[in-house]
Symmetry: C2
Subunit: 354 residues, 2 copies
């Protein structure tokens, strides 16, 4: 058998050894260049890069991970619901993760129960991630997993303990409060609340903000309604609420529920915003184009994702230093056409909060 000199036999995929050979350096030098390590001469760097390019060399991440312990990946466990909010958050997370130089692994856990979350985390850890994000989990019991990487809880408090825990909220409490106050400012005596499903953390958060606003003004707290985020559930709530003439203002925990709510109200002969005002929650821009255009509160998905990933990456890369300060996103109330003064104060025409 003839010796094959100069390169691996066949046309197999190039390895770092092939690059080293072509560049006339050692494999370690190739590794140094590819990892941007110091102590490499400019000349060596140039040669290595040229050789890698010529060969079409592609680094083998699995090998790197095995040798170094770092995976270059960040995972996200989400609920897998299809809504403007969750979709928007995921897109911004992907973007921030990519910008930080990491790859993204996604696992959904539709039920969001502790066992589901634990399983999702387990699979992420097995696949290999340097850290991960738990996005808007459902709170209900303890999640027990052994976690030895930093974890970012986005939009919710820690659901389990980990090496290093970062929490970034989306300001739901303040947003809910602002939405409620907007209605109160318009002159409504009190504000009803159509909340999300009981098990969700996001639901509790908004309820608390709503309560706080009511309490601060000494307004009485009407009974709560729960939907499931869908327009259909908002519609059902609207049918229940419509006959009650004392209802003049409703804060829905999601834009889609608000849309369903308005639809039911109008079908029942109640005008929006003349008889009843409705404000949503999320900020999906499409609802500026329905009748009436929906007044809502905008969730700072992009800011929260960026900020959260920044902190997570810091925790991964500089485990010994303190976490930088998390900055809060500003509260953004979007006043459109679904809110107005109550029928009893027909002339309080222009009170709005920004």
């Amino acid at each position: 058998m003839a010796a094959v000199v100069g390169r691996s036999e066949g046309s197999s995929v190039p390895r770092s050894a092939d690059v080293a050979r072509l560049a006339g350096v050692s494999r370690k030098t190739v590794s140094r260049v590819l990892n941007n390590e110091p102590y490499v001469s400019a000349e060596a760097r140039t040669k290595v890069l040229a050789a890698a390019e010529e060969l079409g060399y592609r680094l083998n991440q699995a090998a790197r991970t095995l040798a170094s312990g770092r995976t270059g990946s960040i995972g996200v466990v989400a609920l897998g619901t299809v809504g403007y909010g969750t979709a928007s958050l995921l897109v911004h997370i992907e973007r921030a993760v990519r910008d930080a130089g990491y790859a993204l692994r996604v696992v959904n856990t539709p039920d969001g129960d502790p066992a589901g979350i634990a399983g999702a985390v387990e699979s992420l850890l097995e696949q290999g991630v340097d850290g991960f994000i738990v996005s808007e989990p459902i709170v209900e019991g303890d999640v027990s997993v052994r976690v030895d990487v930093p974890v970012l809880f986005l939009g919710a408090p820690p659901a389990f303990t980990a090496t290093r825990t970062v929490t970034v909220g989306v300001g739901a409490h303040e947003l809910a409060r602002a939405a409620t106050e907007h209605l109160l400012d318009l002159g409504h005596e009190t504000v009803h609340h159509l909340a999300g499903p009981r098990r969700w953390y996001a639901t509790k958060d908004r309820i608390e903000g709503w309560r706080a606003a009511l309490a601060a003004r000494g307004a009485h707290e009407p009974p709560l309604l729960n939907g499931d985020w869908s327009a259909a559930s908002g519609y059902a709530a609207g049918r229940a609420l419509a006959p009650d003439r004392s209802v003049t203002a409703i804060f829905a925990a999601g834009d889609e529920m608000a849309i369903g709510l308005i639809h039911a109200l109008r079908e029942a002969g109640r005008r929006v915003p003349e008889d009843i005002s409705v404000v949503g929650f999320d900020g999906n821009p499409v609802f500026a184009y329905v009748s009436p255009p929906l007044t809502t509160v905008r969730q700072p998905f992009e800011a929260a994702a960026r900020e959260g990933i920044r902190l997570l990456v810091h925790a991964i890369e500089k485990p010994d230093t303190d976490l930088p300060q998390a900055s809060d996103a500003p509260v953004e109330l979007v006043v459109r056409g679904s809110t107005a003064p109550p029928p009893s104060h027909p002339d309080t025409a222009d009170t709005r909060t920004a």
Copy 2:
């Protein structure tokens, strides 16, 4: 230094060797059990599983990948837009991938140009995937990457060559055709089309379906309008179209554009559906709760994702056998309140296609 017997020193993470030792078998047997390979006695299997459980053993995927060549991951390159359609598709992809026993890696390429797609694919390949999905790419020039794993093109034709290529459509052509025919069936002389951005494949597909329907009925083809999928762009198109009294039916390539369109039309004093009928595209359920409820065509996201992943996994796991037959999802027209006979035929009250 005293010899440490029976287990690795310290409380470090357990390895397969630790499991083997505790179970009293060889590492290879542990490997067999964990991979569900044949030729393992029930007794050995039980012991290994118990040992793994006791130790809290977590398989190291990087090591497995390096040794076996299989990654257990599937990648998806998407556009990273926030819409009901893309979000819905991604959720169903994640679900199907997980059900097939794979992990999911996500890379977005917001621009969708060949260089962006190539970069996204490159990063996926480097991270390690056994196959990947290119979802609704933008067509415009050639993507040049060396791809040696199967690729699934979802909702679009192959944009580059790979070892094994699978294409699964969402039936956009038929759906667009059905939407247009529904309008024609109602008695409209012709149907205008508000298309998506020119560069998108999805745009072309829908245009062709619309054209086909028009041609089949001998209807004349009005000039095309292009939006960017947003409600705002639909609104702009609506303002442009409203003054033209000959327009009585419009097919919008997306639900959100349809919503914006309707808003502009009404603002301009044209009634929907009495004066102008509008049909959307996607099937977002929330638009059943706006006024008028939107007639639309439902994209079979779940079916397409399931079917596509099934074929992709087949191509990955059984590279030598033929691909099973791809089955088409049924066309689903959702007739709601935004379509009606044209003003000139006030009594053709009930013609609908299913």
